[in-house]
């Protein structure tokens, strides 16, 4: 089974990110898109999300996955921060530590910000990037 952890468009966990309702950004060639705030967690109860490798020790990490390295946008077109202010100093393409554990439940969701730039500078709609949380293990809390 896959992990229950997910990214949501709101802190209440009412609007999960899906293929039909994806994360979006609309940068133009001259400037980056504004940062957007999203939330990570799960709406169930009694679950703790940790890293599958060394759970409770290794950090859960938010990272960018590029399905097509040869074209489209690059991993370094996205950056993360835990606060909006933190975006300006965040490194493009760097993963973001979310803590070693996220408990299920709306109250325990972790907020993050992401920002996208366009390094290709070609008019198009790009969907080769994903924002991922890899190597997640769900255990009873």
């Amino acid at each position: 089974m896959a992990t229950d952890i997910a990214i949501f468009h709101d802190a209440a966990g009412t609007s999960p990110v899906t293929a039909g309702n994806p994360l979006t950004a609309a940068p133009d060639a001259s400037s980056s898109a504004a940062g957007q705030q999203k939330w990570i967690g799960s709406t169930g109860s009694g679950i703790k999300h940790r890293r599958k490798t060394l759970p409770g020790v290794n950090q859960l990490q938010l990272s960018v996955t590029d399905a097509n390295d040869a074209s489209g946008l690059a991993v370094t077109d996205v950056r993360f921060a835990l606060t909006e202010a933190g975006l300006t100093s965040a490194t493009w393409g760097a993963s973001l530590n979310l803590g070693v554990e996220i408990l299920s439940g709306v109250a325990n969701m972790v907020s993050f910000w992401y920002q996208v730039k366009d390094s290709v500078a070609a008019v198009a709609q790009y969907s080769d990037l994903s924002i991922s949380i890899l190597d997640v293990r769900d255990d009873p809390a």
């Binding site: 896959a2 039909g20 950004a25 609309a26 996955t65 293990r137 769900d138």
Partner: protein, 775 residues
Amino acid sequence: MLGHSPIAGAPIAALAGGAIAGVGAASYSPDAAATGVYVTVNGGGDPGYSPEASGAGRHGEAGDGVLAYHPAAAVVGRHGVRGASAVSYAAITAGEAHHTSLLTELPSALGNYYAPLVVTVGQSGDYSAPVVVDVDYPSGDYTAPLVVAVTQSGDYSAPLVVSVLGTSKRWRHKVTLAGMDVSSRVTGEVMDEQNEGAAHIAEFTLKPANGSINPYSYVGAAVTIDHVRIESTGEIAQRRFTGKVHIPQYNPADRTITFTCTDDLQNRIAGLDRDILGLITGGRFSLGVQGEPENNWAYAKALMETVAGSLDAGRDGGLRVTNWDGLPVWKTFDLTNTLDGSIGQELPQRGNIINRIDASFEYRFSRLHRRTCNLRYEGDMGIIAANALPLLTRATVEAALESTGWEFFYGDGFGGSSGAGSSVFADAGGEPAVPQINYVPYPEEYDIPGSNAVWIQNETDTTCLGFQAGMYKRWAQNVTETYSLTVLAPESITQNGEIRREERGSLASEWDASAWENDRRAVPVLNSGDWNQTQDYAPDAGAAARDAAIQTLVDVCVVKIKDSHRSGRAWATTLMDTSIDVSRALRIDTPKVKATGKVVKVRNVSNADKDAGYATTEFHIAPSGHGGIGLPEVIETPNTPPDAPTPAAPSAATRSAFGQALSMHVGGLASSPMPESEDWQGWIVNVQSGINVSDPGSDAPRINAETQKTERELVSEKYTGGTLNPMYVAANAYQNTGFRVVMPAIEDDVRDNIAPAINKTYEVKIPADEFELAA
């Protein structure tokens, strides 16, 4: 217990003096001491049974998955093993070697089973060792703990769609209804509109396919509307609306259906827990200020009364609160990127402004008091005996104490213990269960000073020469704290004059204080030992709830004042721009209008009909401002509640009255103090005006001189009756006699209902956004 081993079907075989093959593990070893060999068969697991050898010639033992056989005692016959190494009985014949194919069945019933055991002895030939094992099962139930930890793992990826827009002016709109792309059947205008703090709505019209129409099938159907830019490299879809059909309206004249849609904000909010609503809004709620909301939508609106922001949903459906102030400017619009004549403004009206709110808040609760007073009385035995005063009875004392309206208890001091180990404050309910007094009885005999007389009595159990008693009284006082909270915007008042409104709030405890007053065991217990104790008590509406209510009320006032200063509007229309949202701040920068503010309304309209063809976005912003220039800067006051007054400590005079020594006041004597006083406490008694005499009479022996005989000479005659008391002075007799106790009065300010007034002023800073017009 019987355990199932996973070895069924495996062969049992052994080599004498060597290893045993099959069955996971087995072993054989010759027994030098015995005349035969041991064969052990390892069940490969926990067989969970313990067969017992059942008499000579039938040896078998097993433990922990091992079956042992002693052939020296074996008897040819039908032998077998049961358990881990399950075999089939039917195919077994003694003395024959059997093969793996036989070892495939697991016996299902209790009994004896016979298994082949093939032992290949070192020299030559086969040796078959019959094994007989009587399986004797212990009986009973067995419950094994089973802990199942279900875990799951994997990777999570959220799709990210990045749109890099070009300059193409070509577009189309894409409308889906119940998951179907119905864009080709859309006719006329497609509209969607956002207003801050409200649901996102949309409207479009379809030409339905031929056939019957079931209008109910459309209600609640999912709807998406995209604005699709047609660039040279492909289409770029941008979401305008996500929601559901609210009302489908059939138009028989042109056989079209108009769909009014909503993002269902109200129902989504109403379906959330209040904790979550509090989490996403950050607002406050107090029943005493905002009243009981009908549902969670009303609850959310009440929360938002305390937040200078708006709650709505984005185009991605995410619920969010956007602050009115502090947003960065998302885009600037001027004459080059707005439609001709589309820029307009509406100036703030003074009638919409509120710059002072006088808020009153009442908080009613019970203030509990308990006071203790130590009473001591000691009679003067010398005076009592010399004046033949009547005995003071305990009943008289207790009646006097009870008439004070105070409770009394056994004791010789506050918080101490006395007598037979009874502690003053030891009762579990907080107060002593039984009123008691530490009495000092009259002596049975007392030598009257200055005489040879002896005062005698025998009423030791009912009389009181002295006593000590702790008295206590507890009462509840109704307190109504009355707060006058003034919330004002000084800059706006300077600029616009004072425009005042009023707000009210209240919180009251419904706790029944009278029950506490009348039940000595009722909690809370105020018996820590201090003579004067006070506790504000409102278990259903405590001080924390009061403070939260006050903060809520102040926040409501602040938000109303701020909201009233953003009634001005500026607006413009541009080509369809789906990035414009009520969560953004925009700037309009034209020669005649310069304004910055949060977007309060967005209206997108598009029409792809051949004779139309337009796609525009109209937006309205709300610049905040007070209009003043160069005014002193205001530092906004935090919503901290003012401190409630604490009750003053009793005065020293009051304190001194609580600890009284009662005394005797004897009237009717020449030395009695006069006039008598109503303030006297203790035993007020007159000497008796008459004395009861009981003289048995007496005589004395004498010698009669004439007769020289001893005779009795009368000394006094026998007498019983009253006689005047020569010590009695009628003019000095007291009129009000008896045992009198007057407890100290409780001061009015701790007894009567009180309503202390508390005042505080809060200053509000009005955000000053750009809003300028040029004539």
